[in-house]
Symmetry: C2
Subunit: 204 residues, 2 copies
DNA sequence: ACCTGAACACCGTTCAAGT
DNA sequence: ACCTGAACACCGTTCAAGT
């Protein structure tokens, strides 16, 4: 066929198609991606280096969409509310692509969009007069909890397949619980409230 | 060669060898696993169903070792100390095999050892008089933070490759911080203290 | 029951060939 | 510059054949 007059592919198109595949099937393959893009597998290599770069691209697309939503710009409000909103927004963004998270964890963050998201959080603490040490710890604590909670979104409500005989306390708790909403969401709010209340003691 | 008088393999041996490979290289392949066990790839299928079962086996080995360490039996102490010890112990167990975590997340927990570990935590809250709802939330919150923090152990200290120009607050905080220990460990303790203090308000 | 070697479909990546 | 088809090494899994 040869070169088309107008390029069919772009890194962005490749990343978005890969994101779609992961959302749908929990993973992607280069041949599957090529098929989705109506292209030959080898064509993809004219735009990205390889599979790892595509995975990184998925992260950046999620981050860019989250930034574009404007959720991270809740200026004016109390810093506690803004920190909580940050965690809530990024967890929602990741949770919308919960099947991607296992693919993303364990890879270093280098894309601009994701770093920008964390810059928002760090700036918030700096503004509040946190020391460098406290900013690092505050960002880490909130990020760790946010990420652990986002991972939990992917897990089915019955991911805890406890046995009534072998794990009586665990089984009974889940069997008898009557939560007023999704377990993961409610727990997230409890944890965020706990963490932010504690961070407040650093600033006082 | 045919069947040996004494079986060379067992599920346990396969799981442990796979764990070793992941610790060393961050992943494992069936051919690589077979080589490590001085066996043919097809031999492995006489003992386990396939790769997913091996991944589940890795989790159960980590859980069994953690249970065997006795860290989860800190009876007598205050429930707050025991809950903190639980999170600390399991994070340490997972952190010792940090490269495994990306492989484990996103898979439902079904192995006995891991469920036993969560049973310890649930029983602790039940003992304390938590309602079923509160047990579920307390277990979820502590688990989510513990897992997020364990993932952070795998990340290099410089996983946040912030740019001085583009992300000034984030960059400056990490550049100027002088923490009295590993960022991940210190942050974990701060978060656990925050969460447990908050859980204490449920029981009061 | 348990190990082997051959075989299959599939995957990620490379590269020469085309426009 | 950008797409294609052929090719390569490799992977997970199956299966008939051996003891």
């Amino acid at each position: 066929m040869g070169r088309p007059r107008q390029a069919i592919l772009s890194p962005e198109k490749i990343y978005r198609a890969a994101l779609d595949l992961v959302d749908e099937f929990g993973d992607f393959t280069l041949p599957g991606l090529a098929k989705r893009l109506s292209v030959s597998p080898s064509s993809i290599y004219h735009h990205v280096q390889g599979r790892p770069e595509i995975i990184n691209g998925i992260r950046s697309v999620i981050g860019a969409d989250a930034l574009a939503s404007g959720d991270f710009f809740t200026a004016g409000a109390d810093w506690r509310d803004r920190a909580a909103a940050w965690a809530r927004s990024y967890r929602r963004a990741l949770g919308q692509h919960a099947k991607c998270i296992p693919l993303l964890v364990g890879e270093a963050v280098t894309d601009h969009a994701t770093l920008e998201i964390y810059e928002h959080l760090a700036a918030l603490f700096v503004e509040q007069g946190f020391s460098a040490n406290d900013v690092v710890v505050a960002v880490t604590v909130l990020d760790n909890f946010m990420l652990g909670s986002a991972l939990d979104v992917a897990a089915p409500e019955s991911a805890w397949l406890a046995d009534a005989e072998a794990q009586p306390a665990l089984h009974a708790a889940f069997a008898d619980a009557s939560l007023a909403g999704p377990r993961s969401d409610l727990s997230f709010e409890v944890g965020v409230a706990a963490i932010i209340a504690h961070l407040g003691t650093l600033v006082a």
